[in-house]
Symmetry: C2
């Protein structure tokens, strides 16, 4: 191991923390370097560019969201259980991956093409998948909402907002928050 012991993961993690706190444009590479007790140019031994850091963060996170969704969704479950599981895992991720969520939801617009387009496509895929669950619940008479699209937006953004206030030192664990929020989701769609 050399003097500073830097590596790509450590750099990405430090960037994640600072991007989440001050935003992508509000964070200088010199601040990331200072965090790691290293001069700025040393970072380039472990990353492509500043923009590349953002890209990797967004990519990894949006892929994780879709993975989560398809992993917990059982096609044989009734809509209420599907919605509960999909919401719980989405809420849980926003409590356990706060920094990633903050960066993705704040700085995605700083991505260049084609990364921005790909990210939007993934977001839309998750959005439509959740909307489909709600629509099935409405058809089955289990849910009661005027607009599945509106309810889907509301539930997704509800979970996203967890990243803005959750704390590991708080009164509730990530699991408890996820359980309560999935309960909120079922109430929003008017599940009996």
């Amino acid at each position: 191991m050399t003097r500073a012991g830097l590596n790509p993961d450590v750099v990405l993690d430090a960037a994640l923390t600072l991007f989440a706190r001050r935003g992508y444009h509000g964070t200088a590479l010199s601040e990331i370097a200072e965090t790691l007790q290293v001069r700025t140019p040393s970072l380039y031994n472990h990353m492509g560019s500043k923009h590349d850091l953002l890209l990797r963060i967004v990519d990894r996170t949006t892929a994780g969201v879709l993975d989560d969704f398809h992993r917990v969704l059982d096609p044989d479950d009734p809509p209420a259980e599907q919605l509960r599981r999909a919401t719980r895992v989405y809420a849980h991720r926003h409590a356990t991956h706060r920094r990633e969520a903050l960066v993705v939801n704040r700085d995605t617009s700083s991505l260049s093409e084609p990364a921005f387009g790909e990210m939007q496509a993934r977001r839309r895929e998750h959005e439509h998948a959740l909307r489909a669950v709600i629509a099935r619940g409405v058809e089955a008479g289990d849910f009661h909402v005027e607009s599945p699209a509106l309810a889907s937006f509301a539930i997704r953004e509800l979970c996203v907002s967890i990243a803005r206030w959750f704390s590991d030192d708080g009164a509730l664990t990530a699991e408890q928050v996820a359980d309560q929020y999935s309960g909120f989701a079922l109430r929003i769609v008017g599940a009996s």
Copy 2:
């Protein structure tokens, strides 16, 4: 009226649009100037500084939120009606003042003291006031939630998120969205 017809309101409005789209740090004064078909230094005839623009936006918006709240809250109303009205006006504001909401929720951390502290105090005031309404509803047996704080966070952030997807050209008017979202809020707290 002189050549370009600039004035403080026009500059603030252009800044608002660009801050909302690219963020405070992501927006250059030259871009604001370009929007107004003017050279950058001309802006200084109508503003103090870039930071001052952000400050005025945040100030005006957070004051408006508290104004709205106290204007619609009737102490004699039952908790359910109080929550409905408070949520409706908050949701409505986020549909009709999208740009302001986006800036406040993204770039507040770029404010310097004491502005940042003052803004946080106002936010907390609104948060606590809404939480109190929910707590009263729980005490009265009208609402059923484990944690009024969690429900209050959820409802507020739910409304905030409207700014992220609402469009004047969309299928729903601001009033319709506000009505549906205040319905979501009542469902979240388990109002009968």
